[in-house]
Amino acid sequence: MNVLVILIPVSLILGGLGLAGFFWTLRHDQYEDMEGDAARILLDDDDPPSEPED
């Protein structure tokens, strides 16, 4: 049972990393235009058009 001392914190930290990753994607507007992002993967632009500054 002593292994739990390691396993439980490890599982929480791994899950927490996932959560932190999700927060990061939220912060970077990655859910604004999911349909567009799905389509953009098909474009083979070397230098993508810049974001409008608004």
Partner: protein, 711 residues
């Protein structure tokens, strides 16, 4: 995990993107036709290649492009460029589109959802160990770890429910969030007590999964609501906000709201009058179909009045503004409509009606369970546990999750068909409609100059008609001349041709006086004493015939109520196979007709576009208008059709009916599940494992069922 620093604030910093870079104007343009990666690439590459564009970014989900331009360049340049690229484009008002509050609310909910999901999964893993037989110290340790994860997570994630329940209780009402909050708070409190006293049953996982599933529902609901709101804003912004003002002979592009009374406004051909005014110079025809429903153009000359919403047909005009902004006839109509809309806001959605029934029943059940068990056993702890089990088991997942899931699936299906749903109860009302009232001009028909058909005249008459028609610039004449040329008719020898504005063209054909002009019932051709009516050819909107047939097959009554003259209305009705026709109807009579139908127990769907339809659109149970309609009509209707064809209307009715069926099915599923689960909970046999299984499975079943709407 730490929730001390509110992650919601971290992820949703206040008013992101509100600070515009100085010297750069961001313009937003609606592109209703874009649908794929190639469109995205062509728009973005085409625009950024222009010297005055600094950046362009397409949002495919919202069918919009946001463009930054250098000072000096403006909306007309962008629209022209997009036109050259082959995309239909409509200008939007960037100021109106900015809705940071909505976006922040959605992000906030997503954040709470993520926290609840994370905590739920971790607690669930620990709970599995307990369920599969962990005992004594291990069980207690797992319960304590669960409590450590669950309590802060619930405090953060369930806040929207707790807050809303608190607000409701403070004003003495009970909403759906009250039983939810009660279940969550009691479950957490009781489980903490059980954990502290070394008990066997803890409901931390149930409290978290309840929060998680209901947050999904809340998030979907908010998305439908904010997309309905942004649809409404998008439309407010659709009206071209630019006009050309003349100052000392100089032309100046200004926003419409900057126009003042007395300003001279130039109206080029095809422009919709932005303000009410008096013609100062120019003589020409105005298309009043949007304002009155007449398909016949009206002639205006200096001194005549022009109403906002009329479209200039054949000659540029200059008008002097007599009323602007909110005083224009158009806006006043819109204000009247707001009043008429009041009764529609009182419509209670299916979910509301079910919730009104649900909350008291759940409270009574839980209270009865507690009282009953307390009387029977005298054990407060046992009775409280059973009452909590009842509250958790009766979780309103079907209400809180299934209805928004159906709404989301259905409105995104409609958006793909080119329909903007503006009101969040519109779908349900559309599903209830059993009678359809169509307007004619501009709704079932579109004026298309190239598509006129020659009336049934004998060849000689046709030749005279063409001879007269080809000398005039009147839009009707131009249509007739075009049709004649296409039919290969040769013009007759007509001499001494003169044109009188507003009256028509006349001349002599072999000494016989002939006139093409106004008659009592539309355009007529006079040859000597003979009067031949020339019915105006209107083109049916694409899909109109199919739509009428489809509605007929679906068992809906269809009728045509038009402000136009009887000849024109009956001809279109015959072509479409509509039997009930009311022609020459004034706006107030349209409302009366709808009221009469409603009194007979019909739920009326009104489809119209003109200013004369606005009151009827607002009075109907549910209403649809095409994007070409006047602003007031679009404002009054629940759903706006973005494309040119009418056939999406029929499919929208299908989708709405299917959505309603799914919602009812989901209620049925939830009811069955409760019928089984409530007796188990009441009899004290509900364990945390059973509660978790039942809750997740019912939530997943209703969501899967909701997804079938889009199929």
């Amino acid at each position: 995990m730490s929730v001390a620093a509110c992650p919601g604030c971290v992820a949703t910093p206040a008013a992101r993107g509100d600070a515009a870079a100085p010297g750069l104007d961001a313009l937003v343009v609606s592109l209703p036709d874009i649908h794929c990666a190639a469109c995205v690439a062509s728009v973005e590459r085409g625009l950024t290649a222009l010297p005055f564009v600094t950046a362009a970014r397409v949002n495919l989900g919202q069918r919009r492009v946001r463009v930054s331009v250098t000072p000096g360049a403006g909306m007309p340049d962008i629209l022209a460029a997009l036109g050259e690229l082959g995309h239909a484009a409509r200008p939007l008002d960037a100021d109106l589109l900015r809705a940071p509050a909505d976006a922040r609310l959605l992000r906030d909910l997503l954040m709470r959802l993520a926290v609840a999901g994370f905590a739920m999964m971790n607690v669930m893993i620990l709970s599995v160990a307990v369920w599969s037989g962990a005992t004594e110290a291990t069980r207690d340790l797992f319960h304590w770890i669960s409590a450590g994860i669950a309590l802060p997570a619930v405090a953060f994630s369930a806040l929207p429910f707790l807050r809303s329940a608190g607000l409701a209780l403070r004003v003495g009402r009970v909403n759906m969030d009250v039983p939810i909050s009660l279940a969550i708070v009691l479950a957490c409190g009781m489980s903490l007590f059980e954990t502290a006293s070394g008990g066997t049953e803890a409901y931390f996982d149930a409290a978290l999964s309840l929060t998680f599933f209901l947050l999904i529902g809340r998030y979907l609901e908010q998305r439908v609501r904010s997309s309905a709101r942004s649809a409404a804003q998008q439309l407010a912004a659709l009206e071209t906000p630019w006009a050309t003002r003349l100052i000392d002979g100089r032309r100046q592009e200004v926003r419409i709201d900057a126009l003042a009374i007395g300003d001279r406004v130039a109206l080029p051909v095809g422009m919709r009058a932005p303000v009410d005014g008096i013609v100062v110079s120019g003589t020409g025809q105005m298309d009043r179909s949007l304002v009155t429903g007449e398909s016949r153009p009206a002639t205006v000359a200096p001194g005549d009045t022009v109403t906002a919403g009329e479209v200039v047909m054949n000659a540029p005009l200059v008008i002097r503004a007599t009323s602007v902004g909110n005083d224009t006839t158009l806006r006043q109509m819109a204000a009247m409509v707001e009043v008429a809309e009041g009764n529609r806001h009182r419509y209670a959605s299916l979910a509301d009606r079910a919730a009104r029934l649900y909350a008291p029943v759940v409270h009574c059940l839980a209270a009865l369970a507690f009282a009953g068990w307390y009387l029977a056993s005298g054990d407060v702890r046992l009775s409280l546990n059973i009452a909590i089990a009842v509250l958790i088991i009766t979780c309103p997942c079907a209400l809180g999750l299934a209805v928004p899931a159906v709404g989301t699936a259905a409105s995104s299906a409609l958006f793909r068909l080119g329909l903007l749903v503006k009101s969040d109860t519109a779908l349900e009302r559309l599903a209830e409609a059993d009678h359809v009232v169509f307007d004619k001009t501009g709704t079932l028909t579109v004026a298309d100059p190239g598509q006129a058909v020659l009336p049934e005249l004998d060849p000689a008459e046709c030749q005279v008609l063409l001879a007269l028609a080809q000398v005039s610039t009147h839009p009707v004449s131009r249509r007739l001349a075009e049709a004649g040329r296409r039919a290969g008719v040769a013009a007759a020898e007509v001499t001494n041709i003169t044109e009188t504005a507003g009256e028509g063209v006349s001349g002599f054909w072999d000494e016989v006086p002939v006139t093409l002009g106004r008659g009592p019932e539309g355009t007529v051709l006079r040859i000597g004493d003979r009067v031949v009516p020339v019915p105006l050819a209107e083109t049916l909107r694409p899909g109109a015939r199919e739509l009428v047939r489809r509605l007929d097959d679906a068992g809906m009554g269809v009728e045509l109520v038009s402000g136009d003259i009887p000849v024109a209305a009956h001809r279109i009705a015959r072509e479409l196979g509509i039997e009930t026709v009311l022609a020459g109807v004034r706006p107030a009579d349209k409302v009366a007709r709808i009221a009469a139908l409603s009194d007979n127990g019909h739920r009326v769907l009104m489809v119209g576009d003109g200013l004369n339809d606005t009151a009827a659109l607002a009075a109907a149970h549910v209403s649809i208008s095409p994007a070409s309609a006047v602003e007031a009509s679009r404002a009054a209707s629940d759903i706006v059709l973005l494309g040119d064809g009418l056939d999406p209307v029929g499919r929208a009715v299908d989708i709405a009916r299917r959505a309603r069926r799914r919602i009812l099915e989901n209620f049925g599923i939830a009811a069955c599940y409760n019928l089984v689960a409530i007796p188990v909970a009441l009899s004290g046999h509900a364990s945390p494992l059973l509660a978790a299984l039942a809750m997740s499975s019912s939530s997943i079943v209703v969501i899967l069922n909701a997804m079938r709407v889009a199929r």
